[in-house]
């Protein structure tokens, strides 16, 4: 059974977003997404300081089979990519909502967060895809 934590926000492209106390957000891919991709063998993350627009390709996750883009769910500036993924890309598979996070980003407009899907809407989206 795929996990969809209630406290997170989601996108139609199967990313999750978590608001942090300091105003930044942490972004990863969902349990459903990591399962669809299969075991990851490489993750390419953006450099700190890069400005991304909403919907822009900001990272690439590669399985044995293919490379897939990860899109920015919000416009903003990259604070940090997850340094642990350089040596352990498989963290995205084993702990997609925890150790396997991809990027920390400072949103240009924190109000954009409200426009993302909540866990109920994302659950419905997955049900519709099946």
């Amino acid at each position: 059974m795929t996990q969809i934590p209630q406290q997170l926000k989601y996108t139609e492209d199967h990313e999750w977003v978590r608001a942090e106390a300091d105003g930044s957000v942490v972004i990863g891919i969902t349990d459903h997404a990591q399962h669809q991709l299969g075991e990851l063998v490489y993750v390419e993350l953006p450099d700190a300081g890069r400005t991304v627009t909403r919907g822009a390709a900001m990272a690439v996750v590669e399985s044995t089979k293919a490379a897939s883009d990860v899109y920015a769910p919000l416009a903003g500036v990259i604070v940090q990519g997850n340094p642990a993924l350089a040596d352990q890309p498989e963290l995205v598979n084993t702990d997609p909502y925890g150790e396997g996070w991809l990027v920390r980003l400072r949103p240009g407009d924190a109000a954009d967060l409200a426009a993302l899907l909540d866990s109920a809407a994302y659950t419905q989206l997955l049900a519709a895809e099946d």
Partner: protein
């Protein structure tokens, strides 16, 4: 709607992720493509390869027909039970398909060709046959299982009919044996030892389950692709196709120009290429930077540019490897354009891995 092999229900029952490949619904992987890969390198894996096309060829002109059809020389098959890898070429010297042909008797042959190319292949064979007295029979009633890995033969042999066990274990590479309707060849597409077994569907499903029960790991197309890439075995449609010559695809060794009077299709075009000299070669790359090389990426060398035909992650070497078509003079270091960033790679002589061993220089990845 895609075809399904008689093992489809077994794949689904074992949680396979199914993908369409060459018009067939096939398992991409079960629980872990990486674990499946390592099982084949270290022990034994099984693959459903029933999507591949089995063609039986009979009739008094069969040998004569193959002499014209194949770029390799069917005359090398001196007795029944021998097999040969070959391309069939169009008149421009491009590869129509690659295949293995087995001699089963006098003027009796079995050809195993690719799934995605079946219609073109059968059409081309009918054209080359012209007025030859032959019968080409597509055996879609059969199932094909590849059992691969260092323990494959000892694990599979006891599960065969009594009469087949000793003959199967006595096979040398590219030899085959038949008993009743079961065909066993010592071939594969992984760079490991093993068998490819062709048999009626019902017996095939039973054999598949017996192999799994005996400890063979079910493997999907994902592991098949990483294994064949490490072994530098070409994939039709990616490393060569109707527009590329075997001479620029690492397959020059499979073209038999002797005997000089054997007029196979594509011969004139290849002789012209040979006389004029080819400008490209298919060779190996090992990525020194982080990242994964993929099909179609640009390669920049001191001798000019080329491109990657097959790229990916090598689970054995834990880094990215690729096959690339490059200028013939290219050696040493090169750069690969991965999504706009130039990454450093070394040009190496393939294969990368065979029989469980890494065969190329494998310096640590630069961080």
């Amino acid at each position: 709607m895609a075809h399904q092999t008689p093992l489809y229900a077994d794949h689904v029952a074992n949680d396979a992720r199914i993908v369409e490949f060459g018009g067939w619904d096939m398992p991409l992987q079960y629980a872990s493509a990486l674990a499946e890969h390592h099982a084949v390198r270290q022990s034994c894996g099984i693959f459903d390869v029933s999507h591949m096309t089995v063609v039986d060829l009979t009739g008094p002109d069969s040998t004569r027909f193959l002499m014209r059809l194949l770029a390799n020389d069917p005359g090398k098959l001196r007795s029944a039970g021998q097999g040969l890898y070959s391309c069939m070429l169009n008149d421009a010297g491009g590869v129509v398909d690659d295949l293995i042909v087995y001699r089963l008797g006098d003027n009796v042959y079995r050809l195993i060709i690719n799934a995605a190319t079946r219609v073109q292949d059968l059409g081309w064979m009918a054209r080359v046959a012209d007025r030859d007295d032959i019968v080409i029979r597509h055996r879609d009633d059969l199932l094909m299982i590849a059992v691969q890995g260092p323990k494959a033969r000892e694990l599979a042999a006891p599960l065969l009919a009594e009469e087949l066990q000793a003959p199967a274990l006595a096979l040398r590479s590219f030899e085959c044996v038949r008993h009743d309707h079961v065909f066993v060849a010592r071939t594969g597409y992984t760079g490991e030892d093993g068998f490819e077994i062709v048999l009626p569907a019902e017996a095939g499903v039973a054999l598949w389950r017996a192999l799994a029960a005996a400890g063979a790991v079910r493997c999907g197309l994902g592991a098949r692709d990483t294994l064949r890439l490490e072994a530098a075995l070409n994939l039709y449609g990616q490393d060569m196709d109707a527009g590329t010559s075997p001479l620029v695809s690492g397959l020059g060794w499979t073209v038999a120009f002797e005997p000089a009077d054997r007029q196979f299709r594509g011969r004139a075009a290849l002789e012209k290429q040979k006389t004029e000299g080819v400008s490209e070669k298919l060779t190996g790359l090992v990525l020194e930077d982080r990242g994964i090389m993929r099909h179609g990426q640009r390669v920049i060398t001191a001798a000019g540019e080329g491109s990657i035909t097959s790229g990916g992650f090598s689970p054995t070497m834990e880094r990215s490897i690729a096959l690339a078509r490059l200028p013939v003079a290219a050696t040493g270091s090169c750069q690969v354009d991965i999504r706009g960033v130039l990454r450093k790679a070394q040009i190496v002589k393939p294969p990368f891995v065979r029989l469980g061993r890494i065969l190329v220089d494998d310096a640590p990845v630069q961080k």
